[in-house]
């Protein structure tokens, strides 16, 4: 709830889609989802798209295994931000949901994602020795955010590297390799 309120406050006054009052917000119907289909343009092909199916089962099991909450790229700023990551951050999907604002006249539907954003270790710059971007996780819960699903631009691959540390695998496909260097 706090995250939704923060999300509402962060949006500009004109674009405020959701009520700022927590009691009003609590009345709105919410529907959860387990998959987000993200169209990603093929590298050096403008008219072809790949569909990245990012799964987010929360605490539920996926295909008789453990829960699956995929890593995604979230565009949070301009290209000048976050060093070599160019305005993007890596986040883990925690929940995907749709919220309908029945209190407004238009009854607008908002599709949102609850994500846990990884912290930049070296201001998002490539580590010279390893040639990879290291990421970490904050101890406090300020890394949890709600973003619009439009900000989720692609699936990401990060590899665990010790306690609360990850490495961005930017060689996973040609597009990511071309964008991060």
């Amino acid at each position: 709830m706090q995250e939704i309120l923060r999300f509402t406050r962060q949006t500009a006054a004109d674009d405020r889609w959701l009520p700022a009052d927590p009691t009003e917000l609590g009345l709105l119907p919410v529907e959860g989802f387990a998959q987000l289909e993200i169209p990603v343009a093929d590298f050096q092909e403008t008219d072809r798209f790949q569909i990245h199916r990012a799964r987010c089962t929360g605490t539920k099991a996926f295909c008789n295994g453990g829960p699956r909450n995929d890593w995604v790229w979230v565009q949070t700023g301009g290209e000048a931000k976050y060093g070599d990551l160019r305005g993007r951050v890596v986040a883990r999907l925690l929940a995907l949901f749709k919220i309908r604002n029945i209190l407004s006249e238009a009854e607008a539907v908002h599709r949102l994602a609850f994500v846990c954003i990884l912290n930049l270790v070296n201001s998002g710059r490539l580590h010279i020795a390893s040639g990879h971007i290291p990421l970490g996780r904050r101890v406090n819960r300020r890394d949890m955010r709600i973003v619009s699903i439009g900000a989720v631009i692609a699936q990401a691959q990060v590899i665990p590297s010790g306690e609360r540390q990850w490495i961005v695998n930017h060689r996973i496909d040609l597009r990511t390799f071309n964008e991060i260097y």
Binding site: R53, S130, G131, Q157, I159, S161, G162, N169, R171, I172
Partner: protein, 337 residues
């Protein structure tokens, strides 16, 4: 270089002619199918190939070097553990086994390995001791450079910048690859080392048999340790002397950039597409046949399937044209009334 040219001239002079000289080197001279073709240069016919040149050859060598290096650094288990923690990604298949347990690699598995190995290796070699820091830096650079080169070579269109990046990655790879030299054992070198080891063992056993005086158990053990150490040193010397990176596919990487400049993107010539088509064109047909005179049935099955696909595409194309109505059941087109 001058010495080599002089030696070559000398060898040529000794031989009756260039033909004999080449024959002595093992080059077969004969008339082949390309001789009579106008504007066909046999030297240009061989194209760089990702599947056989990079995935199934260089990456295979690379994983052997990495395994040898990790074994020396005692980090094999960490590598396997890091490999198991790779999260899913579209178009990327995760290996179900640990890397050491995989005995046979397919092209697709090698391609996927190339896409994740540098990150997995960084994760494996984390937290080095101060003495290990320099030892860990070179392999990471070398592997990353090779992977970067292979990725850059897959671009469908290039600019002078991308080509210069490709060349610089290749240079970095060649500059840093020496760290893996001791793990770059060819089959012949391994056989030679085993033979030398066996001969040494025989020699030492003979010497021991000639000595008549009795030894204590402790002396016997000490001597066995010394002999083992000596054998191991000799083996390491031989491997250091014989190991090299001079194989054809390693050399061929130097032609990738020039190939792009002359003929365009390398992806166009990759045999990966042809091999992938075997499934539709041959394997599916074989499975559907009764395995008796299968070739005829394969051809007929694929011909029929191909004709049907063409037909469907024609119908789809016609349905987009204004003024043509496609009859739903027959697939026949008729002008709109």
């Amino acid at each position: 270089m001058r010495y080599r040219a002089k030696a070559l001239r000398h060898e040529l002079a000794e031989a009756a002619g260039i033909a004999e000289y080449l024959q002595r080197l093992g080059v077969k001279i004969g008339i082949n199918v390309f001789i009579g073709l106008d504007r066909a240069s046999p030297t240009d016919l061989h194209k760089p190939d990702f599947l056989h040149n990079i995935y199934l050859d260089l990456f295979k060598h690379m994983i052997e070097w990495v395994e040898g290096f990790l074994e020396k650094q005692k980090r094999q288990q960490a590598f396997d553990d890091a490999g198991k923690e790779i999260p899913p990604y579209p178009g990327f298949s995760i290996a179900k086994k640990a890397y050491r347990e995989i005995t046979q690699w397919q092209g697709k598995e090698m391609r996927d390995l190339g896409r994740c190995i540098s990150a997995v290796l960084v994760s494996t070699l984390r937290n080095p001791h101060s003495s290990q820091y320099h030892d860990f830096k070179s392999p990471l650079k070398c592997i990353s450079a090779l992977v970067d080169f292979s990725l850059m070579a897959q671009y469908r269109s290039h600019t002078p910048d991308t080509l210069s990046y490709m060349e610089s990655y290749l240079q970095t790879f060649h500059r840093t690859k020496d760290i893996f030299l001791k793990f770059c054992n060819s089959k012949a070198t391994r056989t030679q080392a085993d033979r030398q080891d066996w001969q040494l063992r025989e020699l030492m056993a003979n010497q021991r048999a000639k000595e008549v005086h009795h030894r204590t158990v402790a002396n016997h053990r000490r001597r066995a340790d010394q002999e083992r150490g000596k054998r191991s040193d000799r083996r390491a010397d031989l491997i250091r002397r014989e190991n090299h990176f001079n194989f054809i596919k390693m050399y061929y990487l130097t032609h990738f950039a020039s190939h792009v400049r002359r003929f365009g993107s390398i992806s166009m010539y990759s045999t990966e597409i042809g091999e992938l088509a075997h499934k539709d064109q041959i394997k599916d047909g074989y499975h559907r046949s009764n395995k008796n005179d299968a070739a005829r049935q394969i051809l007929s099955q694929y011909g029929g399937q191909h004709a049907l696909e063409m037909r469907l595409q024609t119908i789809e194309g016609l349905s987009k044209v204004k003024g043509v109505i496609v009859a739903a059941e027959s697939g026949m087109e008729m002008p709109a009334v």
